[in-house]
């Protein structure tokens, strides 16, 4: 049973990693908490479902959701973030909250508040290794998570666009002096974050095969905790922190503590914030966060 629980924890961890990355792109680069990401994730799931129900193949569904969520992310950036760029960070956070209310309402009106379900599993196969049973979908979720993290890390570390992202993350004013267009970089951060949230929505939606307009709310809060634990400045941080929290949750449940699970997770987050405010993989940045 322990091994099986480990598999459960790793899957859940992959889920958290995907959403946490989406938060961390905007947070790490712009220092802003985009609360609407939970809803971009939810929208991604609905886009993916719509495509799957229309008998489109999985890669098409994935692409559609990534594109759809990225487009909504652009709208959020143009309307809710860019005009408030110089305001205290709490203001754009609340304007993205406005978007999150709007998107929940729109999704309820379009798809209904009842859970939307897929009749069949998208990838029905299962793999059994001794006492452990793992579904093809679980493997896909974990595999895609690692791949997406790798791609993202490559983009951020090796490409010119990524270098611009990092320059802005380090120091917006210096980056501008060096000729980096802050507006374009901001847009890129939002687009990448939307793409990640959309991908997470499809993969997670298909894995659990049941979605609602409010599915992003609670998992979004947990993903914020994962982002903090992983450190907002390191892409790989989320890949460590996600499974860490996933396994911590699963083990709390496995050893009789299902009722104190959230207490444990958030306690762990606070502990790590206090001991290593830069995250478990974070560098040694002394100046953390701007003034509110």
């Amino acid at each position: 049973m322990l091994l099986q629980q480990l598999v459960n924890g790793l899957t859940l961890g992959a889920v958290y990693t995907l959403i946490a990355l989406s938060f961390s792109l905007v947070m790490g680069i712009l220092g802003v908490l985009n609360l609407a990401i939970a809803e971009l994730f939810m929208l991604g799931a609905y886009f993916g479902f719509t495509a799957i129900i229309a008998q489109l193949p999985l890669p098409v569904a994935l692409a559609a959701a990534m594109l759809g969520s990225a487009l909504v992310a652009v709208v959020i950036q143009k309307v809710a973030y860019e005009p408030l760029r110089n305001a205290p960070i709490v203001t754009p956070m609340l304007s993205t909250l406005g978007f999150s209310i709007i998107l929940q309402n729109v999704a309820t009106n379009v798809w209904g508040s009842d859970p939307l379900q897929l009749t069949d599993e998208v990838l029905p196969g299962r793999l059994t290794l001794g006492p452990v049973s793992i579904s093809t979908m679980q493997l896909l979720v974990m595999g895609s998570t690692v791949t997406l993290v790798a791609i993202l890390a490559f983009v951020v570390q090796k490409t010119p666009a990524g270098r611009a992202l990092r320059a802005v993350a380090e120091n917006r004013d210096v980056a501008r002096l060096l000729g980096v267009s802050a507006a374009r970089v901001t847009l890129l951060a939002f687009v990448l974050s939307g793409v990640m949230a959309g991908a997470a929505g499809v993969l997670i939606g298909m894995h659990y095969a049941v979605i609602t307009p409010y599915m992003g709310v609670d998992i979004g809060l947990k993903a914020i905790a994962v982002m903090v634990i992983g450190g907002t400045t390191r892409i790989w941080g989320a890949l460590v922190a996600g499974p860490l929290i996933g396994i911590a949750e699963v083990m709390t449940v496995a050893y009789g503590g299902s009722q104190v699970r959230d207490f444990v997770v958030y306690g762990l987050m606070i502990l790590i914030l206090l001991l290593r405010p830069q995250g478990i993989l974070g560098g040694s940045r002394s100046e953390q966060g701007q003034r509110v």
Binding site: L33, S95, A225
Partner: protein, 277 residues
């Protein structure tokens, strides 16, 4: 005034106190996304005192405020290590931990909630709301507030001119926690029933929203923000299924048009001058 508006005004009063609790902490440059946790602590302590121990509501509120203030101070110390959004997220975690704690506190009903409080009048709620608001406004004219502003603007510089930044920041946390507890105690005795779900992240965000929307540079901003947050969804009822979306749109619109909040210092001065004349 109909009982309907009285009910809404009770909500406004409770939310104003919640907003003020965030405002006090924000004045030192710290953003708390966990004040619903302090509100919950206040609600549960006050209810325990009045229902189980039979205390009157006013002393119960004072005791709850003191206890929550103490917890606020204890939380405030580790919070010193964190800044900006990281502090905000730690407080978010604190709020969720408090909610989870009450969910498992079977002595106070756990998830089934807690009953038995006696209903209080709207007037009583407003007595507290205006009382606390006046204290905050007096505070705003005091030296302490200047020191808080100094810590808000530049903590290092404030330290260099001999201000005790630690005491100021921790003190603000304690005061904010006490005010949130009063808000919670009043909430519990207005609705005469509480459950852990009342004190989640959504409530913490409502508090912050009240301050930012109403105006984060003057105390009465929290009052204006609360008024808008409670009344606006009621006035949007004609939109039926699109009511919440419209609320979101208006929320963004207000933030875009008045990023400093509806009420700022200059507007407040004009309004109060007009009132005096």
């Amino acid at each position: 005034m109909s009982t309907y508006y009285a009910g809404l005004l009770a909500d406004v009063g409770i939310l104003t106190l919640g907003g003020l609790s965030v405002y006090i902490i924000l004045a030192t440059g710290q953003l708390s996304l966990g004040n619903a946790g302090f509100m919950g602590i206040g609600a549960y302590i006050t209810s325990y005192l009045t229902v189980t121990l039979g205390l009157a509501i006013t002393p119960a509120l004072f005791i709850a405020a003191a206890a929550s203030g103490l917890i606020g101070i204890i939380v405030g110390f580790p919070a010193l290590r964190l800044r900006g959004i990281y502090l905000a997220m730690a407080t978010l975690g604190f709020g969720e931990m408090v909610r989870s704690f009450f969910l498992n506190l079977s002595a106070m009903g756990g998830s089934s909630g807690f009953h038995g409080m006696k209903h209080i009048s709207v007037g009583y709620i407003w007595l507290w709301a205006t009382g606390v608001l006046l204290v905050v406004m007096l505070l705003e004219r005091s030296r302490v507030w200047l020191e808080m502003q100094a810590v808000h603007d530049d903590e290092t510089a404030a330290g260099l001119v001999g201000l005790n930044a630690t005491a100021i920041k921790v003190g603000a946390f304690g005061a904010g926690a006490a005010v949130a507890a009063i808000s919670g105690g009043l909430f519990a005795h207005h609705h005469v029933y509480i459950e852990p779900g009342n004190f989640g992240f959504e409530r913490s965000i409502d508090f912050v929203l009240a301050v930012i929307l109403g105006g984060s540079t003057v105390g009465p901003g929290a009052l204006v923000g609360s008024l808008v947050l409670v009344m606006l969804p009621e006035y949007l009822r004609f939109l039926a299924d699109w009511r919440l979306a419209a609320f979101g749109v208006l929320l963004i619109a207000v933030l875009l048009v008045r990023r400093q909040g509806i009420l700022d210092r200059s507007l407040f001065r004009r309004l109060s001058l007009r009132g005096a004349a």
